[in-house]
């Protein structure tokens, strides 16, 4: 039976890795279409991808968007997590569920809702719309990680600081924050990935001139099938894996993702 379990686990692992490995290997194709395995190998599609303005512009947009959304969502999440863990008030459970709501509302509904609401308010700025949507989808992961970090943390230290005469805010900044820092940084890294990779929530919010990288890739593959998308994808895989390793070493991936 042990054998059987190993076989099934190996099959699941192969299934999970298959599309990723195929993209990475095919990105080194020399031909006009991605091949697995490539008949002749080349790096030329990397050069092509980096030279393609549709990708580079969108990559910059996505990077900025991820950084701004994460920087805005982090203080919000810190305050909320702190209030949930340290505060005592009726309806804490319900509130915690409400804070995670953006995870459960279908992303396509969030995207549409922000589109129509911002149109109503006369907001035509693509950047503003995207930042709003991305703060919403990154925020739950940050709250979850920070709540987990605060729950594991020894309350006595914070109280000691207060007993010794430190102002609560001072105690927070000098004692609590440094102790939960690995959790906060891991949450921020994950938020960066979530924002950078997200497609559905941006779906209705970009414009012909301002696009995000995942949507630019989606648009590109509608009309082209050359391996430059595989090259871009491989670079994305590398970045994601690097971030995953960092998070795993800092606090463990599972605590960030939840479950």
């Amino acid at each position: 039976m042990r054998r059987l379990l190993q076989v099934v686990a190996a099959l699941v692992a192969a299934f999970v890795l298959a599309p990723i490995v195929v993209v990475v290997v095919a990105s080194f194709s020399d031909g006009a279409v991605p091949q697995f395995p490539p008949r002749t190998w080349s790096l030329r599609w990397y050069a092509h991808a980096i030279g393609e303005a549709a990708f580079t512009d969108a990559a910059w947009n996505s990077a900025w968007l991820a950084v701004i959304a994460t920087l805005l969502a982090t203080p919000l999440a810190l305050a909320a997590a702190f209030a949930i863990v340290r505060g005592r008030f009726p309806g804490r459970q319900a509130l915690q569920a409400f804070l995670l709501a953006p995870l459960f509302v279908p992303a396509i509904v969030i995207s549409l809702a922000i589109l129509v609401a911002m149109a109503r308010l006369g907001v035509r700025d693509v950047g503003l719309r995207l930042v709003g949507a991305h703060v919403l989808v990154t925020f739950p992961y940050l709250v979850r990680t920070i709540i987990a970090s605060l729950t594991r943390f020894d309350l006595g230290l914070e109280e000691a600081a207060r007993t010794l005469g430190a102002h609560p805010l001072r105690g927070f900044l000098l004692v609590t924050l440094p102790l939960i820092r690995p959790g906060v940084i891991a949450g921020m890294l994950f938020a960066l990935i979530v924002s950078f990779d997200n497609v559905s929530v941006s779906l209705f919010l970009t414009s012909a001139r301002t696009n995000t990288l995942p949507l630019a890739i989606l648009n590109y593959v509608e009309y082209n099938f050359d391996p430059s998308v595989a090259a871009i994808s491989t670079m994305l895989v590398a970045v994601s894996l690097a971030a995953a390793l960092l998070i795993e070493r800092a606090v463990g991936l599972r605590r960030v993702v939840g479950g």
């Binding site: 039976m1 890795l17 509302v105 509904v109 989606l218 994305l236 994601s240």
Partner: protein, 282 residues
């Protein structure tokens, strides 16, 4: 402990953001669903329930909802089976393997869905790796149709949701004392009896939680059916996109979105109830 005013002050900004960016916009979007389509482009008419009447009265739309629920259920069943096995394997494997296995099983979640969908196209497409290999081996004469149909949707969806299933089951398994299984075996139980009578019942809360969350995620997926599914609206989400972008029928699109949202939220509430009840029993 924080004082009440301090707690409120810390929660206020978040609540404001959630209300302004989520609650009010979603409410506003749904309010379109009870309005008639206006005479001009992007104008709206008077109050009506006709959009919901059309949605629930037309077998075309009902069938599309039915398809979406069916494909999501199929995805969930496959993910539950495969995910439980993998979680069990992870649970039994040593500490050293935990990190690499975690990154492996979470990779669909860490890597953009655009990348993995493209990977499936390269692998399963008409001229993809699998068809090329099968043809070279002489096993098939014409390429198999592996994507741009329901098979493609289910393959893509299982890939997207499997991390959540594994995480849920693993969390449940980790609450089990490993000695339980050993105790049962020492008392003479066969390994499969240990699995059936000891391990599975204890893992059930995790499987139940994983099943609900995975079903909810499948239902709301957009990219997978858009890239790997057949042409035309093939899923509720792709229909919503079509109604808003191609047909400019915002009121009806909003009605479909409202029903999708209600379904997703009903499942999540069920999930919370389930978690609470199973937590109380454990």
């Amino acid at each position: 402990m924080l004082s009440r005013p301090a707690t409120f002050a810390m929660l206020a900004p978040v609540l404001l953001v959630l209300i302004l960016l989520l609650v009010l916009p979603v409410g506003y979007l749904i309010s379109f669903s009870v309005l008639a389509r206006g005479t001009g482009p992007q104008t709206l008419g008077a109050f009506t329930m006709a959009n919901y009447g059309r949605l629930f009265g037309d077998t075309y739309y009902l069938a599309l909802f039915g398809r979406t629920l069916w494909l999501s259920a199929l995805t969930t069943a496959i993910a539950a089976l495969a995910g439980t096995c993998f979680a069990w394997f992870m649970w039994q494997s040593g500490r050293r393997w935990r990190g690499p296995l975690t990154i492996l099983i979470l990779s669909p979640l860490l890597i953009s869905i655009v990348v993995t969908s493209y990977g499936w196209v390269v692998l399963l497409g008409r001229n993809g790796a699998i068809n090329t290999a099968l043809e070279a081996l002489g096993l098939i004469s014409a390429p198999l149709r592996l994507i741009h149909n329901d098979f493609g949707i289910v393959v893509g969806l299982v890939h997207v949701v499997i991390p959540f299933m594994v995480l849920c089951v693993l969390a449940a398994l980790e609450r089990i004392e490993a000695v339980l299984g050993e105790a049962a075996m020492t008392l003479g139980a066969q390994p499969w009896r240990v699995l059936w009578h000891v391990i599975l019942p204890l893992a059930m809360p995790g499987v139940a939680a994983g099943t609900t969350i995975v079903f909810c995620l499948s239902l709301s997926a957009y990219v997978t059916p858009a890239v790997l599914g057949g042409s035309g609206p093939n899923f509720v989400t792709t229909m919503i996109y079509d109604l808003f972008i191609t047909q400019y029928d915002w009121p009806f699109g909003a009605a479909v979105a409202a029903v999708l949202l209600a379904t997703a939220l009903a499942i999540v509430i069920l999930y919370q109830r389930l978690l609470a009840r199973l937590g109380a029993e454990a």
